[in-house]
Amino acid sequence: MPPRFTPERVRYDRRYRTLDKYRFVVGFLAVPLAFYALFVISPFLQAIYYSFTDWSGGPVAHFVGFDNYEKMWNDERFWDSLQVSVLLLVIAPVVTLVLGMFFAYMITSGGRHRRGRAIAGVAGSSVYKVVYFFPQVLSVAIIAVVWGRVFNTNSGLINGGLDKAGVDGPAWLGGDETLGLISLLTVISWSFIGFYVVLFSAAMGAIPKDVYEAALLDGAGRARTFFNVTLPLIRDTVRTGWIYMGIQALDTFAICLVMVPPHVLKVTPVFLYERFRDGQYGYATAIGVVLLFLSMAFSLIVMRVGNRDRIEY
């Protein structure tokens, strides 16, 4: 309450002051929170509700309890797709982040120590920074179509190249699951690396130069500098990137749907999409709910792992 309406007896009470402070905060947040609740939270809750129904797209949906989840548990197609998704969840962040970090380090500190500077990027690093970012600008669906052509067994770029070298290229996408997974992983990593290069370059650029100078004076080489100076100092950024990339990997939809034939392999979101297509909306939302909890569990675990004190500089 505004001061002039505040009763005398509570005006100087500490508990009242706290309450009053939050009133102020809540006053500002009410509208955005209401929007958030309406457009973000409520659809979530609705989806969770629908996952307990047999809704097939019509006007009626009957409550069926855990039937959809039971069906999912017994559906080997779901487990097959989840296996692919979880593999991506585990491998894609490792590959993408390691490469992203490597390129970012090369751009910020991989070069010669020219003109007495402690750190410098490799020659042409400002160009690389832009080039790496290119895939981010393209729509994922275009990326999928283009790479689909590159991987084509008969007329693709890769097998064309192999052919010239006298090697009979394998069927990348129309062949077995492992090759399909490798192709999918390649494209996912390729399309996300640029983002992490920029993210990590920014984090590395924020590290004070004197830390590097000190390391240099102590005789540390590039590898040593990276592992003992750079990596510990950008740890938080790496973890954020890790969570983000994990969710991206779990979410891989368009690339898989467009590029990989569904009979070779499919990720869980594609399996979900197919259930939507078949009009099994209740079942599809149940799969969506499982994915939601999986992403949340993944984020929580990664946030817990290696939680250390932040280094201030």
Binding site: F39, V40, S42, P43, Q46, A47, I48, Y50, D54, W55, S56, G57, G58, P59, V64, D67, K71, D75, E76, S139, A141, I142, V145, G148, R149, N152, T153, N154, S155, A171, L173, G174, G175, D176, L250, D251, F253, A254, L257, V258, P261, H263, V264, P269, L272, Y273, E274, R277, D278, G279, Q280, Y281, G282, A284, T285, G288, V289, L291, L292, S295
Partner: protein, 477 residues
């Protein structure tokens, strides 16, 4: 059936779909769909002798046509007919390769923009589900109506019986109408087989293996497999199941009977094909969405293989790459041996290119009328001239000069007589074919699994569908 490819517009759509379906948005997607229960008032006019279906003359009409191997010109002919009869209706036709993506969401919301839909191609809507959700109209009204050419004869009487049979989903109602007859089987070049290999069409599996061996000696593959579309193998396999074990085997598959896919006959057919794979007679290496056209080009233009599993649309689809003297021919599937229950010549030949009318279509009567026009002699003949496939209208192409593929298809139908087999489960339980068979046969054709695992996989899938409460079962009448 036929070609699917991704163009730029689809890419954008898919990107949008990708955005929509990303996990956090699943709820957002569902939140909008539960509303909207109000009845859509269909436009109706007065019935008369000249207008037996009661079409409202100025109601607009929208036709969605799958733009695949057959293109959509044949349908435009009918749409033009419609425009001529109802000039005020200004009918409009939309060709698309993505039927489900473009049409289904609006049907689900109860506000279809389409009045007639050619539900075909790789992205077709699941017809069984549409029927179950009462989202498609009963088309018996068309069949009962007087035909376009002769008011004394009903449309039903002008069509081959298989059309109505295939439109039924367990009841008396008819929910989809097919327009052409498709002949599935082993397609080959008569010239290559007879002149190049000095052989005649193999009537038994032993002869088939012999032809393949002969071809291998000449450096070509006897068989081919379009890896991007494994389901094509079914086109050459299905008649063999029936041929080997009789109709009981295929009926058991249709009704999801226990152990339907574990029949001895199924095993023997799989074993026969396994030999083909094991001896490396099969040309592979086609993947992606264009696999079937790549395969067809390797077959017609490059002469790399003798037989392709295919359907009668192939003659039209591969027209650009087919040499003049190719002599494209379809053969019925070979017999395994004298123990077969059905004779050589048993043919997998359903009516193809299904059309449906959404139950809540704004101009439902117009949609029905459009189908009645499709079954006119004029449109049927045009269908044949345009895409070279046989119309289901009786006698529509009598006296026409047929190209070799179509001529051979017609001869095959004649030779089959009563022995025509149709896998109804493809319409009733589409995913059993589109997903499970597709996934399984891909591994099979790569030699990753053998007949036993193939049968187990299919039986497991069939049982899964039997137990799935979300899928309505068609019971034996």
């Amino acid at each position: 059936m036929g070609s699917t490819s991704v163009n730029r517009r689809d890419v954008m759509k898919r990107a949008a779909a990708a955005g929509l379906l990303a996990v956090p948005a699943v709820g957002a997607l569902s939140s909008c769909a539960s509303g909207g229960g109000e009845e859509n008032k269909a436009e109706k006019g007065d019935k008369s002798k000249k207008n037996p279906l009661g079409v409202k003359e100025d109601a607009g009409l929208t036709v969605y046509v799958f733009n695949g191997g057959y293109g959509d010109k044949y349908a435009q002919f009918v749409t033009d007919m419609y425009a001529k009869k109802y000039p005020e209706s200004d009918p409009n036709q939309k060709p698309t390769e993505k039927i489900a993506t473009q049409v289904q969401p609006k049907i689900v919301r109860g506000k279809p923009t389409a009045d007639v839909v050619n539900n075909s191609g790789a992205d077709q809507m699941n017809p069984g589900k549409l029927v179950h959700n009462k989202q498609v109209a009963d088309l018996s009204e068309v069949l009962d109506a007087p035909s376009w050419d002769d008011p004394d004869v009903t449309v039903r009487e002008t069509l081959v019986p298989v059309v109505e049979q295939m439109g039924r989903f367990g009841g008396r109602e008819c929910y989809q109408l097919n327009i052409s007859l498709t002949v599935y089987g082993n397609w080959y070049s008569k010239k290559l087989l007879e002149d190049g290999l000095d052989s005649s069409y193999p009537k038994t599996w032993d002869e088939m293996l012999a032809v393949c061996k002969k071809a291998k000696a000449k450096g070509i593959h006897g068989w081919s497999y379009p890896g991007g579309h494994p389901r094509y193998m079914f086109f050459s396999m299905y008649a063999m199941f029936a041929q080997r074990g009789g109709r009981d085997v295929t009926t058991a598959m249709d009704y999801l009977e226990p152990n339907a896919w574990k029949h001895e006959a199924v095993k023997e057919v799989f074993e026969a094909w396994e030999e083909l794979v094991a001896k490396k007679y099969v040309l592979t290496g086609f993947d992606g969405n264009e696999a079937h056209t790549e395969m067809q080009t390797a077959w017609t233009k490059e002469g790399k293989c003798v037989f392709v599993p295919n359907g009668s649309w192939v003659e039209n689809e591969a027209r650009d790459t087919t040499p003049k003297d190719f002599a494209m021919t379809v053969g019925a599937t070979p017999s395994l041996d004298s123990g077969d229950k059905m004779p050589f010549g048993t043919l997998y030949s359903p009516a193809g290119e299904p059309y449906i009318v959404p139950a809540k279509a704004k101009n439902r009567q117009g949609g029905l009328e459009w189908l009645r026009m499709m079954y006119s002699k004029e449109a049927a003949l045009n269908l044949f001239n345009e895409i070279g496939s046989m119309p289901v209208v009786k006698g529509a192409i009598d006296g026409q000069k047929l190209p070799s593929g179509t001529a051979s298809a017609q001869a095959a139908i004649k030779a089959a007589g009563e022995n025509i087999v149709i896998p109804q489960f493809m319409d009733w339980y589409n995913e059993l074919f589109r997903e499970d068979f597709n996934n399984m046969i891909h591994k099979f054709m790569q030699g990753q699994i053998g007949p036993k695992q193939a049968m187990d996989t299919m039986q497991k899938a069939s049982d899964r569908i039997m137990q799935d409460p979300d899928i309505t079962k068609v019971k034996k009448a």
